[in-house]
Symmetry: C2
Subunit: 358 residues, 2 copies
């Protein structure tokens, strides 16, 4: 097998952690006998600086010619004064999602046993750990709904957005959630606001219909406001959380934070053909960029998700996850994971340790 | 002063805790020399049972003839099989808010020092306590925006809602937040999603304009997804959180839960004339209804908010808050507040203890 990967390291710690992901991918390629060709391209803040736009056509072209996109992270203080809608993250990610129809966002959030103490939640609450998969619809809902705009004048001036979902859109993302639950703990919790929103009434209806085809999976419904409460009270109750675009944005971030280990969380955004964009959950961490101390694990696990979902290298993907687990079990930690900075390893050492176990 | 109050106890523990609120109000009335006339009316599940609707016209009429509404809580297993949009809570609260134009929802969420251990967050995070006031817009946004509906057929069938805000609506709720911050710690954090939503771009614009009139107050902006994370990571950073209707629904519930003491949290929903509906943050707790062990403090503090905001009895309101604090400081706890059930007091005893201190 020979595959082409678009590498979009982005800003801040992006390039540093990307280097380690490539190191680990290369080790996996050697071991499992496949070949990856990398093509690097600018995205985010550095693309604004070099090309005047967060997502240059040349970058899109590189992505189009690839089998998957490995994305770092984008943004930083340098571009913070741009209007919100032109911020690097937003201006890079939203068009990429739309262009490649990446409707299915998978964001696993789990507490690694040895790291449960890092969670902001009390030890009693995380003692049994938790392992949640957020399945977020990513190309519909209020992010992309039409019409949206502004009209009127003076104090009567109005601005509006449309939250719209079709049966088709809900059906296909619901299936992804049920498929995932089937090979996990068998519970889908659908997050909605069906007591207030028309779109969410349809959401619930369609999810219930899809559920009929998965009698082996338990379906629960939860209102989004209650979901934010239950997540801090008892995250253990959840297996797969199924959400629309905006609720998924909110809920998946809360899930990530309560693990206490944002530096370990990967995500995948897939289209119908399993083409995907893979990125860490965390940001560019400008305060530590260039210091060689950032945690590369989220980027490395994003690469593992890429092997699994887009490149059909499930064995290699599992081996990487296994290697990461072993390294953590041995107490090899980057600074973000340990209170004891003196014993922490750097970005490259962490990459080496993981690659060495392959 | 003589005032008329509509008492809407509702379902579950509603009637029990309402009784204690009336007890405390009567004690305060005696001490501070004013008179309250109460008029009781059905709302929620019991109203569905007795009148076929969660908000009967007769109840609305009682409210219209009153100076404020003291609301208990509504809903329970008996009505759970109703469609989401007909659930007692939704079918009572939304029309009440709209009918009386209660656009300003105030939800204080604070960790009481002696009860910090009840928070689901780690002791290190809550050690300095926190004290957040959520100011939520309550009669606009996607809850009430037009058009909303359903159209099309088969897999192309769509359902939609409109998130719309006018300058006028944003301006008036923003002012409430800045006024509140002025007599608190002087920080307003406005929660939006201005990087994606048109309505939230206008939201941010108007909030920034209003801020110019409050140079003594610091204004920060936070994206709603990040807000859910920061709340569990470091709630101490927030003073006043200013939110639209839907984000406020989500964020204020998360705020309530991280205090760990939902049984202590009150809320006020006000209109332009300071007519208001006052209710506890928690629900009907059907599992303990009728047992005489429910915590009446949230209902009592809701009554105190009513005295302050709608009845102009600030002194009496402060005295009630003070009495509640003293009772808690003395270690007088209902079952929800203590691990040691044997030492817990009942609903009526708690009401007595608070009334006795007035
Ligand atoms: C940058 C922003 C547009 C984006 C979103 O809201 O989807 C981000 O928060 C995310 O969750 O990937
Ligand atoms: C019952 C429901 C409609 C309501 C809301 O979403 O506003 C409730 O959750 C609240 O926050 O008061």
């Amino acid at each position: 097998m020979e595959k082409n990967i678009a590498l979009l390291p982005g800003d801040g710690i992006g390039p540093e952690v990307m280097k380690e992901a490539v190191k680990v991918l290369d080790a996996a390629a050697k071991k499992f006998k496949f070949k990856i060709n990398y093509k690097k391209a600018d995205v985010g803040g550095c693309a604004i600086d070099n090309h005047g736009t967060a997502l240059p056509d040349s970058t899109l072209e590189v992505c189009e010619k690839s089998d998957a996109i490995l994305f770092g992270s984008v943004g930083g203080p340098k571009w913070e004064s741009l209007p919100p809608a032109e911020q690097p993250e937003r201006a890079a990610l939203l068009p990429l999602r739309k262009h490649f129809a990446l409707y299915c966002n998978l964001r696993p959030a789990r507490v690694f046993k040895s790291l449960a103490a890092a969670s902001p939640l009390k030890p009693e609450i995380v003692k049994d750990g938790f392992d949640i998969l957020c399945v977020r619809e990513l190309t519909g809902g209020i992010y992309f709904g039409e019409p949206k705009g502004r009209e009127g004048e003076g104090s009567q001036e109005k601005a509006y957005d449309t939250l719209v979902y079709s049966r088709f859109e809900i059906d296909r993302i619901a299936r992804k959630a049920f498929e995932a639950a089937r090979i996990r703990r068998g519970i889908v919790t659908s997050v909605d606001k069906a007591n207030v929103l028309f779109s969410m009434v349809l959401w619930r209806e369609v999810v219930m219909e899809v559920a009929k085809e998965y009698p082996d999976v338990t379906l629960n419904h939860i209102y989004v406001d209650n979901a934010t409460m239950q997540l801090v009270k008892d995250p253990h109750q959840f297996d797969v959380l199924l959400c629309g675009n905006m609720f998924g944005d909110i809920i998946s971030d809360e899930c990530a934070m309560i693990t206490g280990s944002m530096g370990l969380l990967a995500s995948a955004s897939l289209n119908e053909d399993n083409f995907g964009l893979y990125e860490p959950a965390g940001g560019t961490a400008p305060d530590i960029a260039g210091k060689g101390i950032a945690n590369p694990i989220a980027q490395i696990l994003s690469a593992a998700m890429m092997l699994k979902y887009s490149l059909d290298q499930v064995e290699a993907a599992d081996a990487i996850v296994q290697a990461v687990s072993s390294v953590l079990d041995r107490g090899i930690y980057t600074a973000d994971l340990t209170g004891d900075a003196a014993s922490a390893v750097g970005t490259a050492e962490m990459g080496d340790a993981i690659a060495a176990l392959l």
